[in-house]
C-alpha cells in the first residue's frame, strides 16, 4: 500500500520532470515581425589545408581546413541564435542536410531546429561513418554509409551543440550543427553577415558562437516591424 502510493507519487513526479523541459515551440502568425541582422568580426583565421591520411585516391592529398574562415576580419560560419522564443514563425519543414563529399562534411557548420530531421548523405564511393555527439561527448547517432549515393535520415531530438566525426579513419572530418529550440538562427556568410527575420517584437538575448574563434552573448531589442542591428566581435 505504502509502496504503491510512493510509486504513484514517483510516477507523477516523473511526468512533471518529463513535461518541464518540453517548453514545446509553437508556430503562429507573427504580428509586426522585425528583423535582426549584422556582421560578426574577429580572428585571426587560417586558410590552411589538412593532410589526407586515408583514401587519398578519392579525397585528394589535402582537404581545406574550415575551422576558421576569416576574410578582412569578417568571420564566416559563426552561428547566431536568438534565445527564449517559444512562439513564432513556422520552422522549415525540409530536413537539414549533411553530405560526406570528397571526404569533408558539407556544410561544415549549420544550424537546425530541434525536432526536425537531418539527411546524412554519402557522395563518395568509400565507407563513411557519420558519428554525431551532443555536448561533445554523448553519441546521438552513429550511422554507416558504406556506399555512394546512400542517405540516412535521423531526428534531431535534443537541442544543443552537435559535432560530427567520421570513424572510418578520416580523422580530419569535422562538422558542427547548432540544434536550436526555435527557428530563430542564422549562420554567417563569407562576408561575416547574417539576417534573421520575422522575429516577434521584444527584448532578447542573442548568442554568437564559432567553433574556434570564441563566443559571446548580447542583448537586443527588436521593435515592431523594426530592423535591429547586431555587430559583434568575437574574442578567443
Amino acid at each position: 500500500m505504502k509502496n504503491a502510493s510512493r510509486f504513484t507519487m514517483g510516477a507523477i513526479a516523473a511526468l512533471f520532470l518529463a513535461a518541464s523541459p518540453a517548453l514545446a515551440y509553437e508556430a503562429a502568425d507573427v504580428k509586426d515581425g522585425g528583423s535582426l541582422s549584422g556582421t560578426i568580426t574577429g580572428g585571426p583565421g587560417k586558410a590552411g589545408t589538412i593532410k589526407v591520411t586515408k583514401n587519398d585516391d578519392v579525397c585528394g592529398k589535402m582537404v581545406a581546413d574550415e575551422s576558421s574562415k576569416v576574410k578582412d576580419n569578417k568571420i564566416e560560419g559563426a552561428v547566431v541564435t536568438i534565445q527564449g522564443i517559444a512562439k513564432g514563425k513556422k520552422a522549415d519543414t525540409k530536413p537539414a542536410v549533411i553530405d560526406n563529399a570528397q571526404c569533408v562534411f558539407v556544410p561544415h557548420v549549420q544550424a537546425a531546429m530541434v525536432g526536425s530531421k537531418i539527411d546524412i548523405k554519402n557522395s563518395d564511393p568509400i565507407l563513411h561513418n557519420s558519428h554525431a555527439y551532443i555536448g561533445g561527448k554523448i553519441t546521438t547517432f552513429n550511422v554507416a554509409l558504406p556506399n555512394k549515393g546512400q542517405k540516412v535520415t535521423k531526428p534531431l531530438k535534443k537541442a544543443g551543440l552537435m559535432n560530427v566525426k567520421c570513424d572510418a579513419g578520416h580523422t580530419w572530418m569535422k562538422a558542427w550543427i547548432v540544434v536550436h529550440d526555435s527557428p530563430y538562427y542564422a549562420v554567417t556568410d563569407a562576408k561575416g553577415s547574417f539576417k534573421i527575420d520575422n522575429v516577434p517584437p521584444g527584448k532578447y538575448k542573442v548568442k554568437v558562437w564559432h567553433e574556434t574563434l570564441g563566443e559571446t552573448e548580447k542583448e537586443v531589442t527588436i521593435a515592431a516591424k523594426g530592423a535591429a542591428k547586431l555587430d559583434a566581435a568575437l574574442k578567443k
Binding site: 554523448i138 554507416a144 540516412v152 535520415t153 570513424d167 579513419g169
Partner: protein, 499 residues
C-alpha cells in the same frame, strides 16, 4: 616500504580479481531482453547499497566509470553518466531499455572484466541496481526508449552465408574487422571510444570474446543498433533486415559453432620421416590442436593489464630426431621493427626433473630454471634462453639447436613453426621421451600494443606429452583376432550343420 608492498599486493589482488572475472565470465545467451520484475523504480536505496558494494570498484562512486580498477581494463568500465550503452534493443544514440541494462548486469560481458552477476545477486537485487544505475544519467529523464523490431530470422544456410560474405565486403565491415574478421582492418588501429580511450574492433573469429553475446540474434542486433559510445555504427538504414541477417549468419560462420575448451593436455603425434614445414600439409592438419588462453602478466613490475592476444592454438609433431610446434594466434597488427616487436615463447623446465614438478611459471627461478624458446619477429629464428626468473633470463650457456623456424603473418593471424633437435640436445636438457609428461607454458607479446619484456600475455603450466607410436603388435593382434573369430564362427557353423 610496507606501504609499497601493501599497494603492490592490493594491485595484484585487484588484477587477480579482474582475471578471475575474465576467466569465469560465461557468454550471454539470452535470446530476448529479460522480463521486468516488479521492483519499485523510485526506491533506489537497495540498488545503491549493492552498487556501492560491488559495482563502484570499477564503475566509480558516481557512475563515471572511474573506480580504482578502471585503469587496468580494456575495455574500460562503462561511464553511466552519459547514458550511452553498447548492447541495447534501441536505435542508434538512444538510451537502453531497462531490460538491456538488467541483461548486462545478469549476464556480464564475455572477454571483459564484467562478470555475470546472476550467480551472486537475486533477480530483485539486479533490478534494483538496474534502476539505480539509471539515476547517474540525464539521458533517461525524458526518454522513452522504444524497442527495435526484430525482423524474422533467416536461417544460416550456405546461400545466406554467401550473401553475407558479399555484404561484409560491400558494407566495408572489413575496414575495421579485417578481411578474415580478426579485427585487423586498415581503420582498426586508432579506434577510440566516446571517452577517447582506445578500443579494439572485435576479432570475429573468437565468438567467446563477443561482448554482447554470440548468438545470431546478438550479432543482428549489433548491426541494427550500432554500439553506442563506440565507432561501431548502425547499419539499420543502409542494409535491409534480410541483409543484416545474412551478415549475422556470415559473421557467425567465421568461427566454429562451439567454443574451444581449454586444453588440459597438449600432445605431440609421431610421424615417420621428416616433419613437414608446411602448416597446410596433411600431417599438420591431422595433428590435434590444443587451445590455451593468455592472462596478463600482472605479477611482476612492469605489469601489463591489457594484452591484445587472447589465446593460442598449439599443435605438435615429432620423429626420432626432432620435435616441432606449430602455433597460431590472432594479432591485429604486425610489428617487426623497433623495441616492441611481436614475439612468442615456449617454456619448458630446463632439466629433466622429477615427474610432476613444475618450476615457477614466470621464467622459473634459481632452483628450478626453465628453458625458454623465444621467437622475435624480424630475427633469424628462435633462440634458446635459460630463465631463472623474469629479470634473470638470458642466453642458455648450453643452447639447444633449432633446425627450423618459419613464421608467417597473414590477415591478422600468426603461424609459427619451430623445430628443435632432440638428437642434438645439450646434456641434461629435457629429453622429450615418448610417453612422459612435460610441463609447457606459453608467452606472447603484441608489439603494436607496446608489449615488451615483462609486459606480455602468459599462461601457466599445461601438461604436454609425446604420444607413443602405436607398436606393430597392436595391428597384428587385431588381424589375429579377426582371423580367429572367422575360424571359430566357421567351426561353429559346421558343427551346427552336422548336427
Amino acid at each position: 616500504m610496507s606501504k609499497k608492498i601493501l599497494a603492490g599486493g592490493s594491485l595484484g589482488a585487484l588484477g587477480l580479481a579482474i582475471l578471475v572475472s575474465i576467466l569465469f565470465s560465461t557468454p550471454a545467451h539470452t535470446q530476448e531482453p529479460a522480463k521486468k520484475a516488479a521492483v519499485d523504480q523510485t526506491a533506489t536505496g537497495e540498488g545503491k547499497n549493492i552498487y556501492d558494494k560491488y559495482c563502484a570498484w570499477c564503475h566509480g562512486e558516481k557512475g563515471a566509470g572511474d573506480g580504482p580498477g578502471a585503469t587496468y581494463q580494456i575495455p574500460r568500465p562503462r561511464d553511466f553518466t552519459s547514458g550511452a550503452y553498447k548492447f541495447r534493443f534501441t536505435p542508434s544514440g538512444d538510451p537502453p531499455l531497462d531490460e538491456d541494462i538488467f541483461k548486462s548486469v545478469a549476464e556480464g560481458f564475455p572477454g571483459t572484466s564484467m562478470p555475470p552477476w546472476k550467480h551472486a545477486l537475486t533477480e530483485k537485487q539486479m533490478w534494483a541496481v538496474t534502476h539505480y544505475i539509471k539515476t547517474f544519467s540525464d539521458a533517461f529523464k525524458d526518454a522513452k526508449p522504444k524497442k527495435i523490431e526484430i525482423a524474422k530470422q533467416i536461417s544460416p544456410s550456405k546461400e545466406s552465408i554467401e550473401k553475407g560474405a558479399k555484404l561484409y565486403k560491400d558494407s566495408k565491415c572489413w575496414e575495421c574487422h579485417g578481411d578474415e574478421g580478426r579485427g585487423d582492418g586498415p581503420s582498426a588501429k586508432d579506434l577510440k571510444d566516446d571517452w577517447g580511450n582506445p578500443i579494439r574492433a572485435a576479432d570475429l573469429t573468437q565468438p567467446w570474446t563477443y561482448r554482447g553475446g554470440s548468438t545470431h540474434l546478438d550479432i543482428f542486433r549489433n548491426f541494427t543498433t550500432g554500439l553506442n559510445g563506440t565507432p561501431m555504427p548502425s547499419y539499420a538504414d543502409t542494409n535491409s533486415d534480410e541483409d543484416r541477417w545474412h551478415l549475422a549468419n556470415y559473421v557467425r560462420s567465421m568461427a566454429p559453432e562451439k567454443d574451444p575448451s581449454v586444453a588440459t593436455l597438449l600432445s605431440s603425434a609421431p610421424v615417420k620421416g621428416p616433419i613437414p614445414d608446411d602448416p597446410e600439409s596433411a600431417a599438420w592438419k591431422g595433428a590435434r590442436e590444443g587451445f590455451l588462453p593468455f592472462m596478463p602478466q600482472i605479477v611482476e613490475e612492469p605489469r601489463h593489464f591489457t594484452p591484445t592476444v587472447t589465446a593460442a592454438f598449439v599443435r605438435s609433431l615429432y620423429n626420432d630426431d626432432e620435435i616441432a610446434f606449430l602455433i597460431r594466434w590472432s594479432d591485429p597488427t604486425e610489428s617487426k621493427e623497433g623495441t616492441a616487436v611481436d614475439a612468442f615463447a615456449l617454456q619448458f623446465p630446463a632439466r629433466e626433473g622429477e615427474a610432476g614438478t613444475k618450476p615457477y611459471f614466470l621464467n622459473g627461478d634459481e632452483e628450478n630454471p626453465v628453458m625458454v624458446w623465444l621467437w622475435k619477429h624480424g630475427t633469424a629464428g628462435a633462440v634458446d634462453l635459460l630463465g631463472k626468473g623474469l629479470k634473470a633470463t638470458g642466453p642458455n650457456p648450453k643452447p639447444g639447436t633449432f633446425t627450423k623456424t618459419v613464421a608467417s603473418f597473414n590477415k591478422g593471424e600468426y603461424k609459427l613453426l619451430v623445430k628443435y633437435s632432440i638428437k642434438d640436445r645439450p646434456q641434461g636438457a629435457v629429453s622429450f621421451a615418448p610417453g612422459g609428461f612435460i610441463p609447457v607454458a606459453l608467452q606472447v607479446w603484441d608489439g603494436g600494443n607496446g608489449e615488451e619484456g615483462s609486459k606480455k600475455g602468459v599462461t601457466t603450466w599445461t601438461w604436454f606429452t609425446l604420444e607413443k607410436p602405436t607398436p606393430v603388435s597392436v595391428y597384428l593382434y587385431t588381424v589375429l583376432a579377426v582371423v580367429g573369430a572367422v575360424v571359430a564362427q566357421g567351426w561353429i557353423v559346421r558343427r551346427v550343420r552336422r548336427s
